[in-house]
Symmetry: D2
Subunit: 345 residues, 4 copies
């Protein structure tokens, strides 16, 4: 079988560079271009010495995309929309790493990111949390790759949400510095971040509406309709991110008020069953460390009871892999009819 031709648009950031590396070494994909603006003309492995891709970054030319089958787009929020629209116009399959196609409601998007450039495209996008939407992703032409925090939180909460077991949830999340992206400002300098740890975004973080939207979608209709104060349209989520003094790694500690009593064994069984056979989700019997999943596409989950009606679920991922570029390739594999794990192990 011939290789599928893939463009990585926006390969100078952390996630885009990793996406380029994953496509480059993928046995069934061919990296036909890795694009960048400021760094066009430089070799990717010079810009990112850790990414061993000895190809030259080029400027994206929307008039010369004809021969590519698919693309992973890693542009800033807002800037991704016209690029994705052009690619979709040519029939290319696209995984988009920005937030531009994650929120189904353009009005909610506007609240957090500003006016949406192409609301019509939203309808056809599939929210790409692989393990929770696999069949839709197989059929999708445009996948909105989830944010790093929502990836961890939703994998942690999915099994409970699907059963309508979440009365409310508090997500205390912690991410390494690479989550802020290249050029993340002074807070991402070594001097600021080392030996430090602090909350941020306490007055509202863009990943919160994304988590709420998807939790609600996962919940059985009756359950969500009956939630007090929710008017059938919301789930009670508190989400607070913190910045860890490490490079790659994200842990979400999710404290769930249960809609009905569940003991530790029932919780463990629920998670083991739900994720049985998943290549990239491991339900483990000890709390996971982010180092355990570093430079892998894995999500490690641990669930425990904190009382008759309270549970905690921990999810550890590498924010650049399962939280971004790894999941993008996982999704692209599905869209192209390949083995989901190809090129990721």
């Amino acid at each position: 079988m011939s290789e599928q031709r893939v463009i990585v648009a926006g390969a100078s950031g952390f996630a885009g560079a990793l996406a380029a590396e994953l496509v480059w070494r993928h046995p069934r994909l061919e990296l036909v271009a890795a694009t960048a603006r400021a760094e066009a003309g430089e070799r990717l492995d010079r810009v990112h010495p850790r990414r061993r891709v000895p190809i030259e970054l080029t400027e994206l030319d929307l008039d010369r995309l004809e021969d590519a089958d698919a693309a992973i787009v890693s542009y800033p929020h807002g800037a991704a929309t016209p690029v994705v629209a052009a690619m979709r116009g040519l029939g290319m399959q696209v995984v988009d790493l920005s937030a531009d196609f994650r929120l189904v409601d353009a009005a909610v998007y506007e609240l957090w990111y500003g006016p949406h450039g192409d609301p019509d495209l939203l309808e056809n996008a599939v929210y790409g949390l692989t393990e929770l939407a696999r069949e839709d992703i197989r059929e999708a032409e445009l996948v909105a790759n989830p944010g790093c925090y929502p990836t961890a939180a939703l994998l942690a909460l999915g099994p409970l949400a699907e059963r309508g077991l979440i009365a409310s949830v508090t997500i205390d999340a912690k991410s390494g510095v690479s989550g802020a992206g290249r050029g993340g400002g002074e807070g991402t300098s070594f001097v600021s971040a080392t030996e430090n740890f602090s909350p941020y975004g306490v007055d509202g973080h863009r990943h919160q509406p994304e988590i709420e939207q998807e939790l609600l979608r996962l919940m059985p209709a009756a359950s969500s309709a009956s939630r007090p104060g929710a008017a059938g349209s919301a789930v009670d989520v508190a989400f607070v991110p913190h910045l860890l003094p490490l490079d790659q790694g994200l842990l979400a500690s999710c404290y769930v008020d249960l809609a009905e009593p569940l003991d530790g064994e029932a919780l463990a069984d629920l998670y083991a069953d739900r994720y049985a056979g998943e290549p990239f989700v491991e339900v483990v019997d000890v709390p996971p460390g982010v180092r355990d999943v570093r430079e892998t596409n894995l999500c490690r989950l641990h669930v425990a009871s904190l009382g008759e009606r309270q549970a905690v679920v921990f999810a550890a991922i590498d924010n650049l892999w399962k939280g971004a570029a790894g999941q993008a390739v996982q999704n692209l594999n599905l869209m192209l009819g390949l083995d989901e794990a190809e090129g990721l192990e």
Copy 2:
């Protein structure tokens, strides 16, 4: 005024060594001995190069304590009791850094630490969270210095607890590696801890009963009595610690379900009022980083509303200072009639 003579018993651990340094450079205290077992005969600044105390560690000799006025004891749980008992028998004023005198109920102590060696002594011990028990500490002969996690959590929750505003609370706490003590095992090795972050003690941590006991004590009687499921004797606390890849620093993120609605402004006012004039508590309007308080006795607090009936309070401390040796000296200052901040700035 002449200097008070102070022994630091157990000065080879992280907290004990800092206590020795603080006493050593204290303008009103004289460090008459810093004791250790295995390292007796070595100079303190050789064992702990960061602690600039050029004195020799000696073996503790309980028969030769007569000329000391007070002691800070930094022994392992269980081992502290006989030392403290002997010192108290001689009339010395003692601040004990172990857990041996923190729990008022010997039965609860036994559940977490084993049988207590001298339950009678418990009655006279004062739980030394300075800002919440200052007057008692002034009169105390024996102060049980709080654990590092309880210090942060109780400073964060005190103002709400005192008003009966806590329906339930989830404490997601994160500590640097020094919190585990010297010889903390393989998890505290550089290779294990760097670029890592993980929860631990999920099935129960010794600081939980301490937090519960003190929260309950702070709550107005009516409030605690009426708590559902609590039978008038408990407060609903979930406490989960995590290990940070840094040396000194602790952040407690406390998520409170409020007993009655409070908005952000009311919360901010409550905290500003409660801690007005405190030399070591700073209520700030941005989320605190642990680096901001490193090598200081400060606790930085930030409170925010997460919804009509949910608040979050962040408390950042240096676990070796306000979480251990710094607070010990603060308490000793009070017990000896000195300015509380002396030697700590």
Copy 3:
């Protein structure tokens, strides 16, 4: 072609665990056992969560080695000799990670490590710095895998040594904490190592005689014979290691007093020519960072002129890979007639 059966003896340390992982995922090797003493019965990926080898560690049984073709032995110095001797007695091919077979002169070994347990075996051992002794390794039955510092230093100095261009050399070397091994003592605790950096072994380090021996072997006879003060038998080497606050990574900065003048271009050409075509040595035109080679078997080299008769050569490796387990597999591949890079990319 069938797979070769390989034992990793001593898989509970950092290097042994990585060796087990590399053999485990090697397409042409079968990991028949990974042994340990204290941790026998535990799963390898529980002891080392980063090493994704889901097999149980077993006790080494020297009476049941018959069906293995080869072994990688990662025992402490001294303890390796009897194990290696037994394996060699059965005709197994062995790569030994200890120092036991690195020094050709048992008297020199004794000076640094104590009496040698089987001096006769020394004769048949080949010093396994792959790029500098490839043909001998192909024929070897027993390979002494070089130390991490000698690996970097000799790759850096080899091209100059082979041409007799080294009058004297000062090696300022820096290694991450994993170089000290598991259980490396208090200096390897997170609290000691973080935000710290210090020299050690200034009064003599075991890797110095190894570097001297191999440099001398590389030098042309006339050159070494004519060295002032060397009596034909020594090369003037100063070697000082330092401890870096990072996990995996080693940089050797080698300052060479040249036996004859060479400019920067001549130096660059010499290195480019010498290592042309090498799969694991990259001669680069900028100073290398240890992060560039992390979790790879690569050595990155950069050479520059510091004056008419002084050059500096930097070599960056991952101390656990090219400095230990990676090079062991590279050598084993050669001994078994496989592609040298198999399983290492």
Copy 4:
């Protein structure tokens, strides 16, 4: 005695902010202004939470300096000259942290930094390595504060240089990330620097001419005149800096080819004698770690023999303290007739 009034000009960078803090808490100095351009109007402790100076940064107004007695200027190279000239015109005593007054020869300055803005001022500047030029500093009106690397290297080499014992020297130096200053570029981001270590400036670093100039000045006339190839005007120095994955700390490992044989004991005696009684130089008998001197004005030195004619001297400092702001205050104390250590302990 009344307090001296001091301006810190350029207090938004790392060194300037520390200088402001040191003056702020100095018992004999009054901080009359801390200036900044972009951050004017912000509070210093908001810009630098670790620097506990609750005053507002203001724009520097050269027309309103009349009432200040002295200044510490922390401007970029080139930009410092006009500010210093204006202050000197008003008779203020100035310690300048830039390179603008360090090199006595304007032509050498121009090679490394561009044309000098006021070469006449060079004549009156004293190079402020306190321990090596104390008496000149006492009389100085303008002190050029040394660079961080030269401070460590010259303290390490001074005792040998003064005796004419240095034939040549190789300085392998390593600095924490704060040495690159705020806004130090992508190499100073957390993601780039963590778990990394690399050389830089191999083709020439601005601190090299500064080290050469001062070493030559320290050497006895006969010694420097007779140096081969030096034409009486140069000393053979190789200097290579490296970037450490830590915040504050600098270690210089100085390898000296001795002009005449000296054993370890003679070396130790030479250093102990030379620095006897120095408040901020500690000659120690073990290799120093940078953590030992963190947040202090100390330089820890250790000297050892590496052979009959080779010695190594290690110098550890905190690059922001003894390598910048701490030494600036030490010098200012001398210039103002105060105790040299005032405000630094």
